[in-house]
Amino acid sequence: MDRKIYLDNASTTYVSSDVIEEMTPCFNVMYGNPGSLHAFGREAMALVDKARDRVKEAIHAKKANEIYFTSGGSEANSWALVGVAKANANKGKHIITSQIEHDSVLKTCKYLEQEGFEITYLPVNSTGLVNLPELLHAIRKDTILISIMSINNEVGTIQNIKTIAKIAHDYGILFHTDAVQAIGNLKMDVQDMEIDLMSMSAHKIHGPKGVGALYVKSGVSIDPIIFGGEDQERGVRGGTENVPAIVGFGKAIELATKNQFVNNKIIKDIRDYFVSKLTERVQFIKINGHPHQKSNAIVNVSFYGVEGESVLMLLDLAGICVSTSSACTSKSSLPSHVLKAMGIADDVAQSSIRFSFGTNISKSDVDYVVDELDKIVTKLRAISPIQAGRI
């Protein structure tokens, strides 16, 4: 099968040619260490500064020095939580997050619990939205940080970030958001949205892997988690700057925000076409997530009665790349924590597939995908002991 259709853009994206073009000379022409005082070093530092300015512009930060480059979204999330917790432990040891965060947030919270912090994991409703009254109820005198993701990576639900940030500030609490899926998708204006800390990643927006950033508003206390040179990221994030990747990230975020409106329109149109074709052709499906307060790029569908991984594998054989968050693994084959938190039954969660769109998907691609899905789901339902219509 020669045809290849990539519908896993929430997982990663191809690096755009404009980004590659800007990165290339950083490997063998402008290869200095930004920490060096000589011409090569100064040249490299200028490239990093330019990238920092681009990120600043893209998220409307007040100052470029509020942007700290990291190795990606996971490091940014880990750092935001641990760094703020440690630096503010004298004020309190309680943190609020949600049950549907990315593992890099949830596992960091587990680590902080071992370190003596208390974490409240807010529930979500059936559409994946954090319940605001529950949030108000969870706030305590010793709460130092609220961390809620902007867009969920599995179902695409968009949280009420501005409202949550406002609530946090009303109580003098810092607010962090994991915006890895949101950059290029939503207008993330850190000043307007009153965000104190924000995690970003390059490879979700046609930039390279292994680079991201944490926005830290001036005045917010944060301890380092990676120790190193005094000059590297103002002494709070050690390690020689990954200049080519940082340059790529700068270009990618500039393009993503510049083209956001147009890209969103293209993606929304093709997503809508897919959903209408799919619902027309395949019976007994459920689209998970919020009906409209959601990312245009992500469609999470449960195909009743068939197991997600089998669908994924058969689609892969037909040249179609998707993902599933729930799979049967060893003894404890737990369905996705996100779908579980949304109250979705285990077998429905286990039959879910995530399609995430990019701008390069055509209507003919969608027609092919829906044709294949129809065949695959029919084939698997024929050998399933669960009768789809009865669920």
Partner: protein
């Protein structure tokens, strides 16, 4: 990720689907995210004449069940009970560690189905005794 044999069996399972006239059925899994497996057998004079399966399961589960069906067909129930996970691995090749549970479940499913045959036989015998009285 999976061996060629697993992929072949997964794509074209010979023994998948309903089995009319089955007189023994085994069902396992379906909880805690485990795959749901159902095995249907036609057993005559303690000999397994036909075996088919249905599953709400992954590629490995489908391949495993397909091979178990092949291996138990034609055997008497005592010998079928002895068909092991190792016998299935001999045919399928390496199964990734995180998918070993599918193999365990498959073996359990065969045993549960054969047990079902004994339970039914016992019931039939009791019924026959009652009638005779």
């Amino acid at each position: 990720m999976y061996t060629k044999t697993i992929m072949d069996k997964f794509q074209n399972p010979k023994n998948a689907g309903a089995l009319h006239g089955a007189n023994a059925v085994g069902e396992v899994g379906g909880n805690n995210g485990n795959d749901l497996m159902k095995l249907y057998l036609i057993i005559n004079n303690s000999r397994i004449e036909n075996a088919k399966f249905k599953t709400f399961g992954c590629a490995v589960s489908i391949a495993v069940l397909d091979v178990f069906c092949d291996l138990i067909k034609g055997k008497n129930v005592e010998d079928a009970m002895k068909v092991s996970q190792a016998d299935v691995i001999k045919i399928l090749g390496e199964i990734p560690n995180h998918k070993r549970n599918c193999l365990v479940l498959g073996e359990e499913c065969v045993k549960v189905a054969i047990q079902d045959y004994f339970i039914r036989q016992e019931k039939d015998a009791k019924r026959a005794m009652k009638k005779a009285r």
